[in-house]
């Protein structure tokens, strides 16, 4: 036996010492991170990656401002071609080359595959020397910040916001003839997106109704083409709503684009809700402009030409649809307060710092500067991007960049969006498999089930686990009692308890109504007995 007599105590002692050393080490690290101060004068140079035609104008301007206010520093802004950023980072960072010190993430879906090369910003964010009180982290819209978090580490800060929106043209929905015909055809009134959150089925019905009829060329405009994530982003917006409704079984959605995963990180592509949503999605593709070809660049233009009553897209058209030079539907478009199904997807771009940067103080200082309230305005004014700070939205209203109603619609969609940390290391494979398989369903060459199997197989090949139908273990389980005051708050507490139990399977909450006036006596009795 190894553990005998003295050896046990020696082993135990060694284990205890090691644990103490680890705890002390971690504590010391965090203490150090929270107390260290950047050198009194930051100097040197760093390279910042920007994307051509997306955020390069703003980053160039911010870099100029930074250098003017921080003499002795040089910020080189390198502009990458649209869509090449992640590949450039992977290539450089996997070889250990510090080509870029500060990088932008064009899509948080890819954060999982490059996070290993980035520094965790959390310890710095809580250090007032790096991020002073004026930075005001609470000013950042929460759903814009959370996607940059993986397993408790924060790898980026947002520099522009985005959210999927449901655009519609009121003239189609308010038309009495359309309303009458729709009712005759589908047996229920044509829903008005202004005050109704459409269901997925209603969306499909409306798209079918308008496709090629009643003054519309297409039923709906949305991204269905083969470019990168166009197709899957649109799908996830619809699937998110179905998925979120099933959270009690599948576990909470933990990330934008994370809808396809259970809370255990298992892919849900083999589930019945995935397949039924896929079927509805293919139905919508049939009603859309240029099936299998409509892309990020073509979709807003088609809607602006007035070819369809509905569009699912990101925020950029907000800034162009009321411009008579670019739109023929000025005054006849609106944004629904909620996406069909009630859940939206956040997008937006963030900035992070490469682990191997040769000038961390400068990189941190620039990151703070480039995402601060004052400088973040430039993303909006120079690159037409949507704010990610509440103060940015106020600025947009006060400077008449967007109307109050549109800002309200964006903010309400942002609040409804899927939030939480992104952790999608298999995203590229899943996205490619999705855009690879869906056209075969559309063309009638394979069934939805077969496509779902192929997507699942691609994810498994990449290393993902598959959802097996067993609900993830619920950390909240058991029974407990809640005291309520009869006739005062018992009705509300009973309803809240009922909702809680529905959401957290395995829990049992008993609301005990205590007569008015005897609450204090009851509580004191319980405490004394215990």
């Amino acid at each position: 036996m190894i553990f005998k007599g003295k050896s046990i105590s020696k082993t135990l002692a060694a284990v205890v010492v090691i644990i103490i050393i680890i705890i002390a080490g971690v504590g010391a690290y965090y203490y150090y991170m929270s107390t260290i101060t950047p050198s009194s004068k930051i100097t040197g140079s760093i390279t910042v990656a920007a994307e051509a035609g997306y955020n390069d104008a703003a980053l160039e301007q911010i870099a100029k401002n930074y250098m003017a206010s921080h003499p002795g520093t040089t910020i080189n802004v390198v502009t990458l071609s649209f869509g090449t950023a992640v590949t450039s980072y992977q290539t450089a960072f996997s070889s250990g080359i510090d080509t870029y010190d500060v990088v932008f993430f064009p899509n948080v879906g890819y954060l999982g595959s490059i996070a290993q090369y980035l520094i965790n910003l959390k310890p710095y964010l809580s250090n007032k020397n790096y991020f002073p009180a004026s930075y005001n982290i609470s000013d950042i819209v929460p759903s814009m910040l959370s996607p940059f978090e993986i397993n408790g580490s924060l790898y980026g800060l947002p520099c522009s916001g985005d959210v999927m929106l449901f655009y519609y043209r009121p003239s189609y929905f308010n038309n009495v003839t359309n309303q009458k015909l729709f009712l005759e055809q589908y047996g229920y009134p044509l829903p008005n997106p202004a005050n109704t959150t459409l269901t997925l089925q209603q969306l499909v019905d409306i798209a079918n109704f308008f496709n090629g009829h009643h003054g519309a060329k297409y039923g709906i405009i949305m991204m269905t083409g083969p470019d990168d994530d166009d197709m899957i982003q649109t799908f996830l917006d619809l699937f998110g709503s179905v998925r979120v409704a099933d959270e009690s079984v599948l576990g909470p959605v933990t990330a934008p684009y994370g809808d396809m995963f259970s809370s255990n990180g298992e892919i849900l592509s083999n589930t019945s809700i995935f397949k039924s949503t896929l079927l509805a999605f293919v139905d919508l593709i049939k009603d859309s402009e240029n099936p299998l070809e409509a892309s990020f660049t073509t979709v807003p233009g088609t809607f602006a030409r007035g070819d369809a009553p509905m569009m699912i897209f990101w925020t950029p058209p907000l800034l162009t649809l009321n411009n008579p030079k670019m739109s023929s539907i000025v005054g006849d478009w609106a944004v629904a307060p909620r996406m069909p199904g009630g859940v939206s997807q956040t997008g937006g771009v963030g900035l992070g710092i490469y682990k191997g940067t040769h000038n961390l103080p400068l990189a941190l200082s620039f990151l703070e500067y480039a995402t601060s309230p004052n400088q973040s305005i430039y993303y909006m004014t120079l690159d037409d991007l949507i704010p990610f700070r509440y103060s940015g939205f106020s600025y947009a209203i006060s400077h008449h960049l967007l109307s109050t109603s549109l800002i309200d619609a964006v903010l309400s969609n942002l609040e409804d969006s899927v939030q939480g940390p992104a952790n999608l290391p298999y995203w590229p494979q899943i996205s490619a498999a999705f855009r690879g398989e869906v056209p075969y369903i559309f063309s009638g060459k394979i069934t939805v089930a077969k496509a779902a199997s192929a997507i699942t197989a691609a994810a498994v090949q990449a290393g993902a686990k598959v959802y097996t139908g067993v609900p993830p273990p619920n950390p909240l389980s058991g029974t407990f009692n809640v005291d309520a005051m009869a006739g005062y708050n018992d009705a509300a507490l009973k309803q809240i308890a009922s909702d809680f139990m529905a959401f957290h399977a395995g829990t049992n909450v008993n609301v005990v109504s205590i007569p008015y006036g005897s609450v204090v006596t009851d509580v004191l009795t319980v405490i004394i007995c215990v």
Binding site: E293, G436, Y440
Partner: protein
């Protein structure tokens, strides 16, 4: 064995190219083979090649590559050949103008060509569908239809590279001695006989070189797929080079991408070997003495 001085000097002069060869050719090749036969942890494995046998997308890519190759080469070659013959026989004053226009696609960046064809093929505002609508036919979704997308790529590829075949064959035609045609005229040969017995044998070398270079160019093709279709719709325009790119730079699975690269290399190698073995291309390129 000791090297003589002449040999040493020769080696010294050859050293830069030897170093270049070692760094930029041999090292990547060795690295490629090493990656293909290892997993991400660096352990020896045949799993990458084993997976190839089960990889449905690879199979689709190989089929598409075959269609793309035969379609593109046949079209590029015939268009280049016939345009060269027509222009050679054209004796007007606009020869140089036509020649410049024909060679124009060769001078444009492949990415620009891709973007240009993307506009031409657009269903809503593309010129091709505009013309189709004018004659009363329904518009064609050139890039969004799974059955047509690969053909659309072949057409764009032909436009881009047939001038290359044209250039080589046209240069070959210029080298044919005029005396042969004069003698044929004296002998009373028909136009077809002149073509069959004088033109074709005289430009055979150019024809084979053009065919070989066009074929290798098509096998290497990537740019148009990337810009025009991104492999879609579905996997309908996935060709081997594009799939290799996706695996390497989208999935970041360098080991499997290396295995695909080796397969790709073997296919091109086999093609070049067959060409060298069964044609006299080496002789025409001056790589081997012409047999007496």
């Amino acid at each position: 064995m000791r090297m003589n001085r002449k040999y040493k000097i020769g080696l010294l002069f050859a050293l830069p190219i030897i170093i270049y060869f070692l760094i930029f050719f041999l090292y990547p090749l060795v690295s490629l083979v090493q990656n293909a036969f290892t997993n991400s942890a660096g352990t020896f494995t045949l799993a990458n090649f084993n997976y190839m046998l089960r990889d449905r997308i690879l199979k689709i890519s190989l089929e598409n590559t075959a269609y793309y190759f035969f379609g593109s080469v046949a079209l590029q070659y015939s268009v280049g050949f016939w345009v060269a013959l027509i222009l050679y026989n054209y004796t007007g004053r606009l020869t140089s103008v036509f020649r410049t226009i024909i060679l124009l696609p060769l001078m444009i960046s492949p990415v620009v060509i891709g973007l240009m064809w993307m506009l031409l093929y657009n269903v809503n505002y593309g010129s091709i569908d505009y013309l189709i609508r004018i004659i009363g036919l329904p518009p064609v979704n050139w890039l969004g239809n799974m059955s047509i997308a690969l053909i659309s790529l072949i057409i764009a590829n032909t436009w881009e590279y047939s001038p290359f075949a044209f250039l080589i064959i046209y240069a070959g035609l210029q080298m044919v001695p005029q005396q042969l045609y004069e003698a044929a005229s004296v002998d009373g040969l028909s136009r077809f006989q002149v073509f069959r017995y004088i033109t074709i044998p005289s430009i055979r070398a150019s024809m084979i070189v053009a065919f070989l270079l066009n074929s290798i160019g098509v096998l290497k093709g990537f740019d148009l797929v990337y810009v025009l279709t991104n492999g879609g719709p579905g996997y309908s325009t996935y060709i081997l080079s594009f799939y290799e790119y996706v695996v390497a730079f989208s999935y970041f699975e360098k080991n499997y991408a290396s295995a695909i690269a080796i397969l790709y290399l073997l296919i091109i190698g086999a093609f070049v070997f067959v060409m060298l073995k069964f044609t006299a291309v080496e002789e025409y390129l001056g790589l081997r003495k012409i047999k007496e």
